[in-house]
């Protein structure tokens, strides 16, 4: 057999096989595409479509094309006679909790992850198992744990009282300060309900995510850069400030943004720990769709607004990244 024969035989054979295999492949691909589009896209389209629907008093809702729900979201249902920013305020609280909690999580996870990447590979794996386990832990469990820790009868407040810490706080006069912050009642410290408890739990919730997201970038940091800076006489803090931080600026920013977007929709922590007047859009969405209000179209509108806010933030982050890259 010559080489030429070999070559000429080669293309013919796959063509023959292709004819047999392709219809099956195509059908599989078509089914897959249809399935993915229906299940991943249609639910979002439904939310969008229903956000223009209309609620019927004492019944469910009907399809419609009204902007009433959006008007209600921004200025209230009675506008222009009466204006209320209640729903915008709820969205504001969503942002408030999410921003502080994500910043806190990243700020505390950064030194930890940096230290983690300097450990031996086997030690890293053990830490990662621990972190992944706590990452996968349901929000419900986490809230339950902090609820026990922060509740007045069994948790930290009781500890404060029994150890005399409450009395000491009263003696040195800091107790009044805690009361001003809403972290104490006349008798003892209290953490439920408070912004402190909400932010603490939310930040705890995403802390493992912060570590996991920062880990790849930090583990790729070139140690020789640090060593070079150290050799040239830079102190440890100077190295961190001038070498490490600038080189991980983008992952740092990206991580904070992702955690923030994730936290925008937090439900359980807010219902349990936040004061009712500080409840967020996520809580309102539930109340409208499955809870007491039964106003699915307005719930859908709020969900769309939440999604829109998240997308705008992600897009701005993308722009920022691009500009930083270009520089």
């Amino acid at each position: 057999m010559t080489v030429a024969e070999d070559i000429s035989a080669d293309p013919a054979e796959p063509a023959h096989r292709r004819a047999r295999v392709w219809p099956v492949r195509r059908m599989l691909l078509a089914t897959l595409t249809t399935g993915i589009v229906i299940l991943c896209v249609v639910p979002f389209l439904l939310v969008f479509a229903i956000s223009f629907g209309r609620k019927i008093d004492g019944a469910a809702w009907v399809w419609d094309f009204t902007l009433e729900n959006y008007q209600r979201f921004f200025v209230g249902i009675l506008w222009p006679e009466e204006v209320t920013f209640l729903y915008l305020q709820q969205l504001g609280y969503s942002f408030y909790f999410a921003v502080i909690a994500s910043l806190l999580a990243v700020a505390t996870a950064l030194p930890f992850t940096l230290l983690l990447t300097r450990l031996k590979r086997s030690a890293q794996a053990i830490w990662l198992v621990f972190i992944m386990s706590s990452l996968s832990l349901s929000e419900v469990f986490i809230v339950m744990g902090w609820d026990i820790l922060l509740s007045n009868n069994s948790g930290l407040p009781k500890l404060f009282k029994e150890t005399g810490l409450t009395q000491w706080l009263k003696d040195v006069g800091w107790f009044q300060q805690l009361r001003d912050w809403g972290l104490a009642n006349p008798r003892n410290v209290k953490f439920k309900t408070s912004d402190f408890a909400t932010i603490l739990t939310m930040s705890y919730l995403v802390w493992p995510y912060a570590v996991i997201l920062l880990y790849p970038a930090l583990s790729r940091l070139d140690p020789s850069l640090n060593e070079a800076a150290r050799t040239m006489g830079a102190g440890r803090w100077t190295v961190t400030r001038t070498v490490t931080l600038p080189s991980i600026r983008l992952p740092l920013f990206g991580t904070t943004l992702l955690l923030f977007v994730f936290l925008l929709g937090t439900y359980v922590s807010v219902t349990v720990f936040a004061a009712p007047n500080k409840h967020t859009t996520a809580v309102a969405i539930y109340a409208n769709i499955r809870g007491a209000n039964l106003n699915a179209p307005f719930g859908a509108t709020q969900a769309i607004m939440l999604l829109l806010s998240a997308s705008v933030c992600l897009y701005l982050g993308h722009l920022f990244n691009k500009r930083a890259d270009a520089r």
């Binding site: 599989l28 691909l29 897959l32 595409t33 993915i36 299940l39 991943c40 896209v41 249609v42 639910p43 979002f44 939310v47 505390t108 030194p111 930890f112 230290l115 590979r121 890293q124 794996a125 990662l128 198992v129 621990f130 992944m132 706590s134 996968s136 832990l137 349901s138 929000e139 419900v140 469990f141 339950m144 744990g145 026990i148 820790l149 069994s154 948790g155 705890y204 493992p208 996991i212 790849p216 583990s219 790729r220 440890r236 977007v261 994730f262 929709g265 439900y267 359980v268 349990v272 996520a282 969405i285 769709i289 499955r290 699915a296 859908a300 969900a303 769309i304 939440l306 999604l307 998240a310």
Partner: protein, 265 residues
């Protein structure tokens, strides 16, 4: 300085473990209410959770069905997409991968609301199979990522070698691609399993209160006051997570899956 670092890591571990320890301790209470430290420790709650109380045994069973079903389905959906993306890199495969990751990328409550409507129209609302599909779609992004990492780790020269030696695409797939990606597929499966076990908000919307998984049951009990049995559920889940991730770390390469630099050991 080194000591300071160790202290910081220990402190982080302590705070991370604190609520978990408290929940575990609370499970040992003998009475009907939660105390920490536990009063009159007993293991009776474990019996209630696994054997005697139908509310919890049903919930546990539902959780297992949803998690195992969702993990299987998610892997089955993610495999062809990841394979297409890797072998052809066509626009279609990129779009499919993007759409498949979409539900995981948006705030889960929005996807939960959407699925609630979707199953309402298609008649799956409150059925457990709808819960399985919902979780599979939500978490499909995870096996998509792990399988893609696995496929990228295949040395293309092995495929060329196989092709040179006359292996058809199918044979090369079975002898080269499949064996090398098995650990990554299993990791993806387990990630979905654990996250589905612990997922709350999406299943909250699609179950429509007609069945309860363990997380839903715990949330329901949160409103009626705590019972120590809930804490047993938390322990069970935690043990499952630790076992699963230890298995992934032992047989897969967890640092690599998490994106660690390969050149350094």
């Amino acid at each position: 300085m080194k000591a300071l670092g160790t202290i910081y890591m220990a402190l982080a571990a302590l705070v991370l473990a604190l609520p978990i320890v408290v929940v575990c301790g609370a499970a040992l209470n003998s009475g009907r209410s939660m105390f920490f430290p536990p009063q009159d420790p007993t293991l009776a709650r474990f019996g209630e959770f696994f054997v005697s109380e139908p509310v919890w045994t049903n919930a546990l069973w539902n959780s297992v069905i949803v998690a195992v079903g969702a993990a299987t389905l998610a892997v089955l959906l993610a495999w062809p997409i990841a394979y297409l993306l890797w072998s052809t890199g066509t626009k279609l495969s990129k779009t499919l991968a993007g759409l498949g990751s979409l539900p995981f990328a948006v705030p889960p409550i929005v996807f939960g609301v959407g699925l609630g409507f979707f199953w309402g129209f298609t008649g799956g609302l409150g059925d457990i199979w709808a819960g399985v599909i919902s979780h599979a779609i939500l978490l499909m992004a995870l096996p998509l990522v792990t399988i893609s990492i696995g496929l990228q780790s295949i040395d293309r020269s092995h495929l060329d070698a196989a092709a040179t030696m006359g292996a058809t695409e199918q044979v090369a797939f079975q002898t080269v691609v499949l064996p090398q990606t098995v650990p990554y597929t299993i990791s993806g499966f387990f990630f979905v399993l654990v996250l589905s076990f612990n997922e709350f908000i999406v299943i909250f919307f699609v179950s429509a209160s007609s069945y309860a998984t363990v997380t839903l049951q715990i949330f329901n009990s949160l409103r009626n006051g705590y019972t120590p049995t809930m804490a047993v559920a938390a322990i069970t889940f935690l043990v499952v997570s630790v076992l699963v991730f230890s298995a992934v770390a032992r047989w897969g390469d967890l640092p690599r899956l998490m994106g660690a630099d390969q050149s350094r050991k």
